[in-house]
């Protein structure tokens, strides 16, 4: 299976630069290690014929903590901070703290208007799978040409 190229490396129409190829090669290499991530949580977007599926890894989040809202072509995801393991209890010593526990808020702009009634959200094993179908109204209509 081919490894998908991150958006950053696939820009067209960039002005020519002697460092262009080198930059792109470096971005691609580093992209393998650190995929483009401007905000948290990182999300992957899968595009289908009539809908878009957004997946995000949200370990330790309960469905009640998540707030998903859809308006026209914008999807917003908001989440309360995660419950931290006990830290101020008597006799508790931390050896290692790596997991993130902060809350977050992030939005995505889609290339089409979303049908709000048909949105499906599934949170399983800490992975969110959000199915966003395109609204019927915004789908391109085939125009019949009448023969005269």
């Amino acid at each position: 299976m081919a490894i998908p190229i991150p958006n950053r490396a696939a820009r067209q129409g960039e002005p020519w630069s002697p460092f262009g190829d080198f930059d792109r090669a470096m971005n691609r290499m580093l992209g393998d290690l650190y995929p483009t991530r401007a905000e948290y949580p990182p999300a992957n977007i899968w595009t289908g014929k009539d809908d878009v599926v957004l997946t995000a890894e949200l370990p330790g989040i309960e469905p009640d903590d998540l707030d998903i809202s859809v308006h026209e072509n914008v999807v917003s995801l908001r989440c309360a901070p995660r419950e931290k393991p006990p830290q101020s209890e008597e006799g508790v010593t931390y050896h290692r703290r790596e997991c993130a526990h902060a809350g977050f808020s992030r939005s995505w702009r889609l290339p089409f208007e979303v049908d709000q009634d048909k949105v499906e959200a599934k949170l399983e094993n800490g992975v969110l799978k959000l199915t966003l179908p395109q609204s019927e109204v915004s789908k391109p209509k085939k125009i019949e040409i009448k023969a005269t």
Binding site: A2, I3, P4, I5, P6, N7, M29, D32, P35, T36, R37, P42, A43, N44, I45, W46, T47, G48, K49, V53, T55, A56, E57, L58, P59, G60, I61, E62, P85, P86, Q87, E89, G91, V92, T93, Y94, H95, R96, R97, E98, C99, A100, L123, E124, N125, G126, V127
Partner: protein, 134 residues
């Protein structure tokens, strides 16, 4: 770093190369919190995408190995158009200082977070020693 599936070259085994997984999917180290209570060590690891039947916790001697497998993330009828995180299995090993009661280890996984409680054996628990004024 893309593997060219058409050309199979013999990979020379290097000295001390680590044991490989049978699948080519990447393996990640899960983010882990470790804290010590009076009666137990607690290991909390983030493994999103791993369900209860796909997680393994193994304590051999003083080495604790936690691992989890995830399902193929591909969605039928869809192509990946924006990629910000990679999906892979999880595996991490920790060396504990000993004194764990292996029979009483309790591991639970919920919402992709694995929690392993390793009770300390009686000898390893702090013994209260009263100091007499003399």
């Amino acid at each position: 770093m893309c593997a060219d599936a058409n050309v199979m070259e013999k990979q020379q085994a290097q000295q001390g190369q680590e044991v490989e997984a049978t699948r080519t999917r990447p393996v990640f180290l899960p983010c882990t919190d470790i804290f010590e209570r009076e009666d137990a060590m607690v290991v909390v690891a983030d493994m999103p995408g791993v369900g209860p039947e796909a997680v393994d916790v193994d304590l051999t001697g003083n080495e604790l190995t936690i691992s989890g497998r995830v399902a193929d993330p591909a969605i039928e009828g869809h192509t990946l158009s924006s990629w910000e995180y990679e999906v892979g299995d999880y595996r991490r090993r920790f060396r504990l200082s000993g004194g764990i009661d292996a029979d009483k280890i309790d591991a639970t996984i919920k919402n992709g977070v694995l929690q392993v409680v390793l009770p300390k054996s009686k000898e390893a628990q702090p013994q209260k020693i009263t100091v007499k004024a003399g």
